[in-house]
Amino acid sequence: MAVEPVASPSSPGTWCGQCGEAADSGAHIRCALRAELEPPRWCVHCRRRMTVQVTPGAWTATCVRHGSVEQATWS
């Protein structure tokens, strides 16, 4: 199964998608709050900075190694 560059319950990854630090290096409370208003910037699997395109109703994050994911922000 393909791995997406953002965290999911089945594939949480090693790195925080918001701050790029190790996911187990603390509670990342500010990162969790930030995620409500920001797309992830770091691939959670390899810590590469992703290209992120935000549009009015969605965002797309792309890691050169782990591929792209698009998430709608309104239906």
Binding site: L37, E38, R41, V52, Q53, V54, P56, G57, T73, W74
Partner: protein
Amino acid sequence: MTAQATGTDILDVAREQVLEHGVPLRQEQVLSVLRTDDDRLPDLLALAHEVRMRYQGPAVEVEGIVSLKTGGCPEDCHFCSQSGQFTSPVRSVWLNIPELVRAAQQTAATGASEFCIVAAVRGPDDRLMRQMREGVAAIRAAVDINVAASLGMLTHDQVDALVSMGVHRYNHNLEAGRSYFPQVVTTHTFEERWETCVMVKDSGMELCCGGLVGMGESLEQRAELAAQLGELEPHEVPLNFLNPRPGTPFGHLEPMETADALRAIAAFRLALPRTILRYAGGRELTLGDLGTRDGLLGGINAVIVGNYLTTLGRDPRADLALLDELEMPIKALNETF
């Protein structure tokens, strides 16, 4: 005898001067408004709302924005995560034309009348102008919406080219008052920004020109920004509240207090009674849901729906439901205030 009884109270003055006679507040008067106490804030917001309703009416202009070229900007605007000079995690990326059209369609589906295409550049190069020509034509062929643009500083030829494409409004913010601008940007001057704004106005395009508050400027400098915008007389003023971005020189600042943000909204409305005053970036962080409502009842008459250029906004359904509850109709396409 109190100041209020002698008619020197700033709210009394503003009621007479702005509401009754339509004369904008001057810089020192704006400063007095920005200094009003918290216990006067409800009265201030109510007055600003009356001014908005009298000179602009109940309709709200709804707009969507999208970044055509993100990141890698050579300028050093200290609030911006898209500068290539900072350690911000934002990477450079271009949006293709089909996705641009899709974004315009998404925006139009909310009832919005405006769609603004934005690029993080000092000014457009040939590649960006070609992309704009192709993109604007594709949107106009597919979507019934006004197209605006924000591409940095322009030459006369570029202004003419945008007019010929059918771009009806151009955004170029002053960002800050003249005296604080050098603390915000060092790679270009306030005067260079002003020159582009004047060229846009002279071209017949509508000028959208605003700025940010909460960047560490003094109240005097905030009032100065309002007054200088008033001097420029833009068609629209987008009011941004600093959202401190990681890796930028202003990343360490705290978001401004809600009451200060609301005072700024009311003060800008009283300085700009006949201008569209739009909620732009940072309102989710600074105002939240309750503050958003207070601002719409305190001088704001335009909103950006959906996401911003690099950050996420509220679900448009929440904004549209709020407008419906407040009995503020969405401004129709081609309707004028």
